[in-house]
């Protein structure tokens, strides 16, 4: 049997200069269902595809409110995501207690990244298996960050992560130049369109996806179920109109590498739940 000698912990380098445990953690992010984020000059929108563990179960929540000015979408191990969201909430609430002002998004993302980095340099720890899209609005404007298990973090105009996210990224790359001046409605529409590219089975509906918004004079809010339905309906209406002129991109070809990683349907439940 072929066995990798250099992947048992994250303090062992491979001779090729890689740390396999960290790469495995980043792989966990790719196996979670897709999440996209994008921003204009005033707003940040996060949208996620939710999975249900079984036919009988509810859809797993993937968006968490951190504070009135900030929220996250997660992809990967939900349990790890919850731990990080609790940490972020605590930091925010402590900051507003001490300074009576909201915590800067960039500063918090840096703290989370530092926290994740520590896990990549201790033999007795494991990296977090979750990627975070952090959307927030502070006195320097709207921000969208991606936090990676490796301890890296990046600021984006628009980003997608999770299973088949390449398709959503392709959509975002094609459209992002129009985002700056887009209205909140247009931003939500773009978020849903891009999410649709990553949708594996069936259609987007108000149950299997959720959208969150935050921005200027707009406290963080999650649109789900009935509040999301009008946006989905508008999307379907527009889609029907657009079909005649605009052909949808060949999604299966674009996301081939990530698709491979996506678990086949109706698998036995994995030990660590991904969403």
């Amino acid at each position: 049997m072929f066995r990798n000698q250099y992947d048992t912990d994250c303090v062992t380098w491979s001779p090729a200069g890689r740390i396999h445990q960290i790469e495995y953690a980043m792989e966990a992010v790719k196996q979670g269902s897709a999440a996209v984020g994008l921003k204009s000059k005033k707003y940040v929108v996060l949208a996620t595809l939710k999975r249900a563990a079984s036919e009988l179960s509810a859809y797993q929540r993937k968006v968490f409110k951190i504070d009135d000015h900030m929220g996250i979408a997660i992809s990967g191990l939900t349990a790890d995501g919850r731990v990080l969201s609790r940490y972020m909430r605590r930091e925010c609430i402590n900051h507003s207690f001490v300074y009576d002002s909201p915590l800067s998004v960039g500063r918090l993302v840096l703290q989370v990244a530092d926290k994740a980095q520590v896990c990549t340099q201790r033999s007795w720890k494991r990296p977090y298996g979750v990627g975070l899209l952090v959307g927030g609005y502070d006195k320097t404007g709207p921000h969208l960050y991606y936090n990676c298990p490796s301890g890296n973090y990046y600021e984006y105009k628009a980003h997608a992560m999770g299973a088949r996210s390449q398709a959503a990224k392709t959509y975002l790359e094609r459209k992002f130049e129009t985002f700056d001046d887009a209205t909140l409605e247009e931003l939500i529409k773009h978020a849903l369109f891009s999410l649709k590219e990553s949708c594996t089975d069936g259609e987007l509906n108000s149950k299997n996806c959720s959208v969150s918004v935050v921005g200027l004079d707009t406290p963080f809010d999650i649109l789900e179920g009935d509040t999301l339905k009008p946006h989905i309906d508008a999307l379907d209406a527009e889609d029907a109109g657009a079909m005649e002129t605009d052909t949808a991109p060949a999604a299966p070809a674009a996301d081939a590498p990530t698709d491979e990683a996506a678990p086949p349907e109706a698998e036995e439940p994995p030990a660590a739940m991904e969403s």
Partner: protein
């Protein structure tokens, strides 16, 4: 103020208790091998006698070197703060050139009355915060309101430890086109207003401010009013001297003036026999 008649050596001053005067001391010397005990004879002494003899540190719970009132008000271009430069040792006018106003970051200024070393400690905390901001290098700095709120938390937290920072602080600033003025007391009491004053100033200068201060007043008017306040404080507060600094924070940042004296007039009739009009005094 200086602790009320705790027995202390007249030669050594308050807080430094000669062993003979401390009931616990003789016993402690025998029980502990006290490092302060001079091996080659001579008179032993302890600083902060309570500590190490079965009690916690006490010397932080009374002020030693103190400053008196700080006065501040808003005006057209920002805020203006003033105080004298005296550091009193009890009622001794011990240090006459102490700066009791310090800038914090770009837009904020702190004025402190009360224990001077506690003020140093507070400034150390604030300097750590501004250094931290600088190191983040993201262009974000603490605003006056944030500093004010931070200080209320620090003061109240220390009060809860029964080890208060013995200060009344004035926090003033100008940021994003808005003036900010607030005050924080020793136990975390705090408020913001268009004019504030600590200590005696709250009783002697604020009545004048209430009458004459308005937010659109010119710099000259504000300075004149502040000097009136300082003058009244100097007339009636024995722990003050005629050597003042005035600081301002405007859109350009903060500036603190060199110390200067005010012209005073002691010929008023009310000064001749002050007790005459005050029933119950002597």
């Amino acid at each position: 103020m200086i602790p009320a008649p705790q027995k202390h050596s007249y030669a050594l001053g308050p807080g430094v208790v000669a062993p003979a005067m401390h009931p616990e001391y003789g016993r402690a010397i025998q029980e502990l091998n006290n490092v302060n005990y001079p091996k080659a004879g001579g008179q032993p002494f302890v600083v902060d006698a309570g500590h190490g003899v079965g009690g916690p540190h006490q010397h932080t719970q009374y002020p030693y070197v103190t400053g008196t009132s700080v006065l501040a008000l808003k005006y057209k271009d920002g805020i203006m703060v003033a105080c004298d430069t005296l550091g009193s040792y009890g009622s001794t006018k011990r240090y006459k050139s102490m700066e009791r106003m310090k800038p914090v970051g770009k837009f904020t200024l702190i004025g402190a009355s009360g224990e001077y070393s506690d003020f140093h400690y507070i400034m150390k905390l604030l300097d750590e915060l501004t250094t931290d901001d600088y190191c983040h290098d993201d262009g974000q700095n603490l605003t006056p309101t944030e500093i004010y709120n931070y200080l209320t938390r620090v003061m109240y937290n220390r009060r809860n430890k029964f080890d208060p920072l013995w200060n009344s602080l004035v926090v003033g600033g100008f940021h994003n086109g808005e003036s900010f003025l607030g005050t924080v007391g020793m136990v975390g009491t705090c408020y913001t207003d268009s004019h504030v004053a600590t200590g005696f100033g709250a009783h002697l200068a604020r009545p004048l401010f209430r009458e004459k201060q308005y937010d659109d007043m010119s710099e000259d008017e504000a300075r004149a009013l502040l000097e009136d306040g300082l003058r009244v404080c100097y007339y009636r507060d024995k722990n003050s001297i005629n050597k003042f600094q005035i600081a301002k924070v405007t859109a350009e940042g903060s500036t603190i003036s060199e110390p200067y004296a005010l012209i005073t007039e002691w010929g008023y009739e009310a000064f001749v026999n002050p007790a005459a009009a005050a029933v119950g005094t002597w």
